[in-house]
Every structure is written in structure tokens, then in C-alpha cells.
Symmetry: D2
Subunit: 400 residues, 4 copies
């Protein structure tokens, strides 16, 4: 272990690497899952506000829009048609700076427009005029212009919060992540594929089982055989993709709760189960690396919708993952690396109270000699912490 | 490793026990933290519905009320007084069975009354007539009576979901948990102590730092010196409590963001920061064991408000913690134990797809011989899975 | 006709007095009618705000709370019991001054508390914890303190608006008004009488038909015979009251939409039909004199909830009725009098753009000689216009 | 007076015709006035539901959508630009049949789409994506299909309610009505003219004063002179139009509350004052003939949004106006005619409890001989009462 001015602890921990553990669980909730819709709306609203603050004032003003709540509607899907009976209710919650000196800033207007735009862009079968209600309870705050110009270039932590990250992804993690991404894109070829895709991966006894809950779009189904064919097609496609990426045997189950004889199939009008009974909210689904990984340390912090410049929980979660990735990429001796960052109220955000780097070396590697490399990666990343914000605002870094 | 009909995997993993790791982070958000208020409301509503379903139908009907959203108000605290300017808005979201055969069930009425009762019982300075708005968007569903009486005694999993648990608590974990519980009770002696208490514990370099954010109640403060004295009193009290429980040196910081010279202190009218800018929602704070522990595997599943009889995510999170606790208590050879349960759609909930028990023995212990004991604990707990539901409904098991 | 500095027009109009017309229609919606609940809440909120503004600043600040919206719930009344299934949703809409100089004013808190208090005081069977949701969308505005102290004692009209009044009440009008008041009080003796009472009076062919829709309270009913007996008792009581007040023959119908054989009776859980399907909003029911009178000129202006100091529509409606009453009381020669006041933007409210007094003398009376008396009554009332505000704030003048 | 099987009373009343009265007040709230927006939304939603019920079931199912509530936003208009800061919140309230036999009907979806469409069609500068929030609380009801097919062709009154109408319009009434219509259309030539136009007409001392509150659109204004020029242009245009229609001298005042020196002018971003402080709700503005006329008998019933087939208050208000118009057109002897219709619970709607026709003949006319003509007009209109519904559903009859 070493300690330095940036409070960096590097320690070699004894730990069975995840891929050597007997059981591994990984989950990803796709773009159309109600919790991920909430994440996506929260994040897109924050991005839109940030961009407009930058346009007008050259600076991202205080805001956090990380509390979108989705209350499910009700619907009546049926093969070849169907319709939403009760719209999905979406409540944007959070706060934003709405007055800067004498000027007023249209935070709710920007939020509503960004939210509608996001839904239009990410859903093929959702009628944003009739299938949803978007309401807003954004609290308002004000800022003095003078104050703004006197700010330091490096913001100060306003909370005691932490971030966690790790690298690299295990094969199961990669597979779960890519399966959802693959199916989401496949909907442009197979229009019956809805955006609500949940992938659960279990590696057990040297097999990876992928359990996929794939919402289908009822108006794009011809009949029950068509539905069955589509599931088969999906299964085959995913299998083909998967065997290229891993040598571990793969089992795939899709829509196991179906009862095809009784006609109970997983069909929706809009592509998302939010239309009929599944509520959603921010921070309840994927972590900022896109996965839910109970074999790994995770942060409970909701990163989506948080202020990308000053919210320390958001920045540290993203940064710790970036640090872990860079260490994993550059330091060959390391098999797994875990990074935790803890903030210190009132101190610049690039001076955390504690940086913990836990490494698991490949067998036989000498860890001492790589400590300086790791420390310099951490320092460099902290020195360039402002880049995180920019990438988040531009959408280059995903948070869910 | 062993495998049996309940799909139990017991494996000894190589892992530096948490207390041997250099850095440990633990957090607890107290009862008055906005996220925990959301958890508390979600869970109390589910309990009230469950009890009334049992009263009327002898069975807990389908419901999930795990999506309470709190949009912060605004307030104007000032020493010796202050008032809430804009009430806290609380939206109860979820769904419940409201028609059973020909009968109608007053789910929203029960939910509203339970929520108000909870707030009255848990907050000393919150005016439930004027400081809050409670709104509701509980979706409605219906059940056939016949269906109800034909059900099996063991429900079937309706989702692929998992739970994680571990035992025992580390010293830092115990301390963080007890600090909040201690302060929450202390408010009956020191009325200026609000219910919004956040405790962050960092063990680092053989010291435990407790960083406490303690909301005070402005009307119970005489002046700024009184405030300072109360913080000191709290600090001393917590210190006295702590040194009895651990030999590790303790550092305590309270309300570090204060700027006492400028009069910026952490005061509230109601005892919770939900009155002025901090939103909250379910599943964003403590895990079902009461803590946030990035050094430990955690489930992202929100347990509060979920159906205590049929929601597999809730039951498995609680059950895995119970299993871990019992193993930890009864098997002396084990230093740490981690339990994960994965459900299997359509199968009885006491027949999980996979039970993973990871053990870290005390040095030199032979793990093979204790496998049968562990397996029999797991089996016994699974056989008695229904007890979990009863305890949750009666409030004997906390979920936050 | 005469004209003077207060722009008073007195004219004798040719008009068949209402009591000489063949057909007369009069309606009153009782305290528990959804529209009247909305009126009552709007007005009680304005009173509470006005009183607190006076307490704190010695002056009633800008506000209008005249847009309460009631969305009906659903319920399941049954003889001897019943319950509300979906609560009544009440949205307080309007605006109020919430910042005065550096101080903040808790308008929404005051509004919520006043609304709850009003419902508790006016309803015997409504459970304000579970049967209703009160939400609020009060817009916020700010005032400069300096501005406040520089104001004239007589406010200026900020709108072009008018008020209308007349006197005296016809016998049918008196009877309709008193029937509702009588039944509302009778519920303290006969607890099955709900607060939702609608009385429609039709005078036609020398008979007055009173058609009463009287909500009953299901939990206070023993059986269907009890219900029938109560309706009979009400009928007899109203008849006894009525014959003392008029010599015109009376016919009374209660709950004509009942189908007693089929068990369809007008029963409610809470005493108001807002519990099951009848929405309500401000200004849709009684005019400020307590009646709906299509034989008379009426103002469409909603008076309840309007600012009692500066809202010219509210003040002129009340004032014109007061002027009409005083003329009717003091000038024996007059059989009916109609008063209209029209404001002039930017002018003091006691200097209307036009006061129109239309008189119908008793046969053979010489109207010329009474003009000076009428003008002096009008002038006196205008000179004392501030008294209206005080009486409204204290609840001495009803607006519905 | 005569009496017949349709309970028609025709009576000649003694009354100074409105145009012979010294003072006449008439008001019209234009399409963009918040109360009229509420009316328009309520009515368009009812039309859309009616049309879709007809499409699917050949019959208009039960619904009433007459309680739209508009809570004003806040905005920041400025010459040459400006923007909405807080969106206008629109709550659709009412109820509709959402299940018919086994089928579900998407009432809220239809309502939301119709509301958005209406706003897009009637406002040139309102951004329906960002300037408004449309929320919905439509209560749900169900119908049995069997029941539907067994219904009589003539619905029965389910309430005791009345309608009032009169004819012809006075010159002042015509002028007020046409002024708003004229300006609303003029906005296509002069884009700075907003849709929020309030016209108050006062005829007094042989002059008609038109007081116009004309919202302008800030982004269409070049500077303060441009604003002044536009007001002048409007004034001249209205004057030219008016002098063609009446010989009574006209005075026109526009935006009298302006303080041009201080830059306080009546400008808006969107064309409606709902963007900044003026709430609105159904039934608070124009009566079903498009005017507010305190010199005339009026109904307080809100007609917009009511069910066009079964809501007796709506149908009778429209029908009584149609009867009055036809009598006025066809019976030359009559100068003014007033019609009131009172329903009878449980009876077919074409058999009212009472039809009161009050006529004011031209001087010297013998009224007796025209009674049969009047009665036959009334009977014919009652016999064809179903045509009213059709015209309302198709938008051929306006209700505001």
C-alpha cells in the first residue's frame, strides 16, 4: 500500500477473480425497461439543461434532474393491433436554476422538450401525443451572476459521497451487455422487437444461461406462429453472436413466462411494459457501466440526471470506472482492478478524501513495481476530471 | 462445491475479509433522509394493504407499492422558528388489487391513511396537515375470487430476480448502523435533533471516520451557540457509544458543510431536508440490511414496498441475509459468508434456480466438513420461506 | 334617468316583475354539492391568506384562489356501511404573493390547512385522512415592501369587470334558499342526511314544485324502509317549514331518480356525490347571493376565492347586491330593483365607469321623487366600499 | 298563455327591450382567453370521444369532460423575443366509458390527442411540446353492451336542469361578438395579434364603448413604436368594421392598462395570458351563444364538454337558443323572445317539464294570433332534438 498527496491507496487484495468463482450473476435492463426509461429521461434532461446553460452563460448552472418517476399505464395489446388505454404518466422531478441575476431560464420548457425528443428517438411504436403524459415538478433555484464569474475552475465537493468502478468486464458481463445492445439494434430489421429487453445472465457449472425477457410489439405480429418464429429467430441470432465471443457453452431462454397454448405471450402495444403495469424510476436499474453485477462492488448512487459538473457521486462513479479501465488496459500484470473514490466536503473534487485501488494480479506477478504506474494513472485522471463533465454533457459517456 | 436438489452451491472463495482490507466504506441514510422516507412510506403502505387483504380475504392479494416519489418543498428555517413555504410533495406510485370478484377494495384510501400515520409516528416536527401533500397514482387490478382459493400454498416466481446477503457486519458497519439508530432515539431527549441523519463511515489507516450530516430543527434552537453546543453534545455522545463497541480509534465530524461565521448551519423546520431541495425515492438508499456497503455485494432491487408474499426480489434479498446470519451465528469456522439466491420463473419460490453460498473460513479451518451444516441451514430456511412474509407484514423485518 | 359624478344611472324600466311572470326557475346547490365544495374551499383559502397577510403585513397582499378543481372519486356505498374506493382529488389552483421584500410567505401551507379545516367543519362523514387528496398549484408572486406602504387606501381597478345584484328575493327564491339551509342543519338531528343537497324550484301555474336531490349517508341507514321513512320525514319537515313562508301551494319531490324496487337509491358514504362521479369547480354553482336565477340578470364571474380587496368582479357583485338590498329595504315605492356596476381600469374602485340602477315601482308610484334617495344610497355604499372587504375576510358575507 | 302536452307556456311579458334600456353590458372572451381555452379543450375532447364511440359502437357512450382546469404558467415576454419559463398546466377532468362489454376504450389517449390537436390548430405561437403540460384525470366507467342495444332512441333526462336562450342579438351584442371574431382572423395578417382577446361592450348614453384587451405576441414586435402602430391599426380596423354594422357612435379603447412610458405593455410569448398568471376553467366565460350578457337571462350551466346526447343542461341551452332564433326569424310581430326549458328526471328529453316562451312584441302587435306558430316551432324543435347532438358532435354548433 502506498499513500500520497491525493490520498491514493493501492493495495493488492486476495480475492477469487470473478471468472474463477463458481457462480456469476449479471443483469442488464434495456433502453425500454421502465427503470431505464427513467434513467434515460433524467440524463437527457440534464444534458439539455447543461448545454443550454453553457450556451447562455458559458457555465453549467446548478441542477439535478435525477428523480424521474414513471407510473405505468394500461393497455390492450392484441396480435395485429392493440392500443394504449391509459397513458403512461411520467413525472420529471428535480431542481434547476431558473433565475440568474435578472434573467429567467426556461428549465421546465427545456426539460419537457428534451424528454419528448428522447422518447421519439428511442422508441419506434410509442405515440408521444397520446400514449404518454409528461408532467414536471422541477424545483426552482436562483443564482447571482457575480457569484458565477467568481467560481473556481475546479468545483468543490458539496457532499460526502463515493464512486466505485472495476475492470475488465468478465465474459458473462460482456455477453449480457452486448445481447441487449444487439437486440435493440435488431428491432430495425425485425420490427416486432420492442425496446423493453431484460437480459439476465447466470454462469454456473461452466455454462452461461441467458434469460431474456423480450417485449414484442403486437401490431407487428401476424399470428401466434409468427410470434414463435420471431422468438426462434432472436434466439438463433443471439446464439450466433454469442459463440463468436465466448467458448463457454450458452443456453438461451426467451420469455419463459409465456403460456403459448393459452395465448399468454409477452406482447405490448408500444414496445415497453411501462404501458401495462410496470412502473419505473431513476437509479433502480443499471449502474453507470450499463450492468447490474452482484458479484462486484456497486454504488447505489443514481448517476443519471445528476449534475455532470458538480455532483460528486456521479462524477466519481464515472471516473472510478474510467480509472479502472485505464489501469486494466495499461497494466498487463493485473487481472482485475477495483477503484473507489470518496469525496471530502468543501475540498476541490480532484482532491478526494480517499482513493482506494484494489488489484488482483495474475498469478506470479509482482505487484510492487506497478504501483507507480497505477498512481500516475489515478493522478492524471484526477487532474483531468473536467473532461468527464464535457463528455457526459455531449452524451459521449453513458450513465445507464 | 456441492450441488443438490435445491441447487445449492457452497464454495470456499479466496477473498481478503472486509476487516482486513485497508479501506472500508459504509453509509446509512437515516429515517428522515428523503430516500428513506420514500422507503418507509412504500413499505408501510404495503404492510397496511397486506394486513387488510388478510383481514378481508385471508390472503395477501397482488400489489407492489415500491415507487413512492418525493419532490422536495422549500422552507425558510430560522433559529427559534421558521416555516415551510412550499410543502413536500409525495406521490405514492404502484399498483394494487382493487376488485376481488364483485367486491371493491379501497387500496388508495388505505395507502393514504397508512402514509399519514407513518409520517406522524416517525417525525416530531412535521405538520402533516400543512407541510406535505400526499398524492397517489396506484394502478388498479382485479382478481377472481375462485382463482384465489385455488392457489398453491407456495407461490411461484413470476420473475427472474436475485437476492444477496452477507454476515456478519464488520465493526465499521455496526458502528454506522448504530450511530444513526442512537441519534434517532436521542432526538426524544434533545429535540433539536431532526430525523434526517446521514452517517458515512470510512475505515482507513486504522481509524474509523464517522461523517455525520445531522439536520437540526430550527424552532428548537435558541441561538448559534446553542447549535454549536448541540453538535458537541452529539459528538460526545456518539463517541462514548462508539468506544464501547470498537477498539479502533474514532474520528467524528458533524455538519462539515456548515459555515458558522456566515450563519450557514444545517437547520430545518421539519427535521428533514426534503423540505428544502432534496428529493427522494424508493430503493435509492439503504439496502434491506439497513446499510450501503460498496465493499460488499449488493442487490439493486428496491425491497421496500414490494409484495411480501410474491415478489421474489424482496423475499430473496431478505432471505439471503437471514441465511447468511444464521450460518455466521452457527458455524464457528466461518469468518464471512456471502449468499446469493436466483429465482426461476414459474417454479415455486422455495426452489430457486441457484443458491450460491460463498464462505471465507477463519485461517486454518477445514471447510469441507461444514458443508452439510450450511446446506441444511439453507434448506431449512427455504422450507420455511413463508415465515419471511409474515414477519415483513407485521413489521418484524425492516427493509431499509 | 340621472347622471352624476359617480356615473350613476337610475332608470325606471318596464318589466313584468318576476312574481308576476308565469314561470319562475330557481336553483340552489348545497354546501356538499361538488361545485359548492369548490366554492367553499376557494373562499376559505382566500380568507385564511387574507387574515395571515393582515397579521403579518397589515395589508392583504395580491392573491386569487378561485380555481379549485374537484375530480370525483369512486365509492361503494351500501346500506349500513360502505366505503370510498378512490379518494376525491382536490386541486387548489390560483396564485398568491409568497415573497414580500426579503420575507417568504407560506401561502400553500396556509391554503392546505385552511382547506382541510373547512372540510372537517362542514362534513360529518368525510374522512379527511383517507377520502380526499388535496393537491396544490398555487402560482407564486412577489411584492416589494416599499410598494406596499405607498399604496393608496382605495385600490384601483385592474380589470374591466362588472357586478350585478337585485332585490328583493321572490317567494320562490326565499323558499329554495331556505330549504337547503334547513336540511343542512337538520342533518345534525337526522344523521343520514348528507351535505350534498340540490334544490330546484319551479313556480308554474300557481304552484311551487321543489325538486330536491338529497344525498343520504349509507352508514346511517338501517334498511330500505329506513331510507323511505327518512325521505318522508324530510318531505314533511320541508313542507311544514314552507307553508309558514308562502301561501302558494307547494309540491315536493325528493330523489326522483331512485328506483326503490331495484334498490337504486341516492346513498353515499361521505354525504357528497363528489365521491362517485360528480366533479366540481368554482363559479359553476350559486351566484354570490346563494342562488341560480335564470329569471334574473346574473354575473358569470366566480366570486369565491377572489381577492376581497382588489378583485373588482368580486367586490362589485357583492356590492351591487348590497345596494339593491338597501334600496329595496328603504324605498317603499319600489317593487324590484336591479343594480349593475361596471369598473374602469386604472380608476379607484369607488369610482365605477357606470352604475346602472333599474327600478320597477309598485303600480302608481312616482319614481322621479325617489331618485335622490337611490343616488345617495349608491354613493354611500361606494364611499364605504372598504367595508365589503372586511366583511368578506371575516366570513360575514357569503359568496355562494 | 297556453298550455299543451309538451308543457309549453307562451306568455307576453312586459319588459323594456334591451335596446331601449339605458345601459347595456356585453362581454366576450376570445378563443385564447384562459377560460375559453378550457371551454375549447373540454368541447373538443367530448367531440373526439363522441366520434370514436360512434365509429366503434354506433352510439355515443356516457361521458362528460366539462371540467378542464388550466393553471397558468410564467413567462418572460420581451419585444422581439421572450420565452415561457414555466409551462401552462392543463388538467383534463371528467369521466368517460372505458369498458364496453369485454372491450376497452382508450378515452384518455383520445382526449390527449384531441387536446393537443386543438391547441395546434387554434394557436399560432404556442409550442405544444414545451409551453404546456397536459395531464388527465378522466374517471372511468363501464357499460354493458346489451344495455346499449336496448336503449330508446330518445334518451331520458337524468337530471333536473334547465336551458335558457333568447333572440335576436342586440347591436351591441353583435358588435362585441364580431369584434373578437374579426381580430382572431386578423392575426393571420398581423401576426403580432395574439389569440387572447377580451371585448367588453358598454352601451351608455347612446354610445357603444368597446374596451378591448388584446394580447400581443412579443416575438412579432419590432419595438415599442411598432406596438403602438399595431394597436392603432387594430383600432382603425375595428372602427371601420363597426361603423358598417351600427349607426350608434363607437368608442374603442385597447389595452388601457398599458403604461407605455414605463414599457408596461400587454405582450405575451404565446398569445395567451395563461402563460403568465391567468388560470382558466370551463363554464366561467361565454355562454353557449358566445357572449356574457348580464342584461339577459343566462344559464350557469357549463355546456362545453358535456355529453352532447344525454346531458340535458347542454342540450336545453343550445335548443332554447335555437328555438328563440327561429321564432325571432319567423315571427315578425316579435321584437324579443326568451325561451327556457326545464327537464323532468326520468322522462324523454323531448318531453320537458316546462317550456317557457316569453315574448316582447313590437308595439301594437297582437300576440294572441302568433301563439300557434310559436308552439309549432317549439314542438318541431323538440321532435328533432336529436339533430342538436349531431351538429354538436360535428362541430357545427359552437358552445362558447
Amino acid at each position: 500500500m502506498s499513500q500520497n498527496k491525493k490520498n491514493i491507496n493501492v493495495e493488492n487484495v486476495l480475492k477469487t477473480p470473478v471468472e474463477d468463482q463458481k457462480v456469476e450473476l449479471v443483469e442488464r435492463k434495456g433502453i425500454g425497461h421502465p427503470d431505464t426509461i427513467a434513467d434515460g429521461l433524467a440524463e437527457t434532461v440534464s444534458q439539455a439543461l447543461s448545454q443550454e446553460y453553457l450556451n447562455r452563460y458559458g457555465e453549467v448552472m446548478h441542477h439535478n434532474t435525477d428523480e424521474t418517476q414513471i407510473a405505468a399505464g394500461s393497455s390492450c395489446p392484441k396480435i395485429g393491433g392493440g392500443e394504449v388505454i391509459k397513458p403512461i404518466y411520467i413525472l420529471l422531478v428535480g431542481r434547476a436554476t431558473t433565475s440568474i441575476g435578472d434573467e429567467q431560464f426556461p428549465a421546465e420548457k427545456i426539460a419537457l422538450k428534451a424528454a419528448r425528443k428522447y422518447l421519439k428517438e428511442h422508441f419506434n411504436h410509442l405515440d408521444t401525443e397520446g400514449d404518454i403524459i409528461i408532467d414536471s415538478k422541477l424545483g426552482q433555484s436562483s443564482a447571482e451572476l457575480r457569484e458565477v464569474f467568481e467560481r473556481d475552475s475546479i468545483p468543490k465537493s458539496n457532499d460526502t459521497s463515493f464512486g466505485v468502478g472495476y475492470a475488465p468486464f468478465s465474459e458473462t458481463e460482456k455477453l449480457v451487455y452486448q445481447t441487449e445492445r444487439y437486440l435493440y439494434n435488431l428491432r430495425n430489421e425485425i420490427p416486432a422487437i420492442g425496446e423493453d429487453i431484460k437480459v439476465m445472465g447466470l454462469r454456473n457449472n461452466e455454462t452461461i444461461s441467458l434469460t431474456i425477457a423480450q417485449a414484442t410489439v403486437s401490431s407487428e405480429l401476424d399470428d401466434i406462429d409468427h410470434y414463435k418464429n420471431i422468438l426462434n429467430e432472436i434466439k438463433n441470432n443471439v446464439h450466433d453472436m454469442a459463440v463468436k465471443k465466448t467458448e463457454i457453452p450458452i443456453e438461451i431462454d426467451i420469455n419463459k413466462a409465456d403460456n403459448i397454448e393459452k395465448g399468454n405471450i409477452y406482447q405490448t402495444v408500444t414496445g415497453t411494459s411501462a404501458e401495462m403495469g410496470d412502473d419505473g424510476s431513476v437509479g433502480r436499474g443499471n449502474r453507470s457501466n450499463g450492468l447490474i453485477t452482484p458479484n462486484r462492488p456497486m454504488s447505489i448512487e443514481a448517476t443519471s440526471g445528476k449534475n455532470p459538473v458538480s455532483h460528486i457521486g456521479k462524477i466519481y462513479n464515472i471516473l472510478s470506472t474510467e480509472i479502472a479501465n485505464q489501469i486494466s488496459n495499461e497494466v498487463d500484470e493485473i487481472r482485475e482492478v477495483y477503484v473507489r473514490l470518496l469525496s471530502q466536503i468543501g475540498q476541490p473534487i480532484n482532491e478526494p478524501k480517499c482513493v482506494s485501488v484494489q488489484t488482483i494480479p495474475h498469478k506470479g506477478e509482482n505487484i510492487k513495481q506497478i504501483q507507480p504506474t497505477i498512481e500516475s494513472i489515478v493522478e492524471d485522471k484526477l487532474d483531468n476530471i473536467n473532461k468527464i463533465s464535457k463528455k457526459v454533457i455531449n452524451g459521449e459517456i453513458k450513465t445507464f
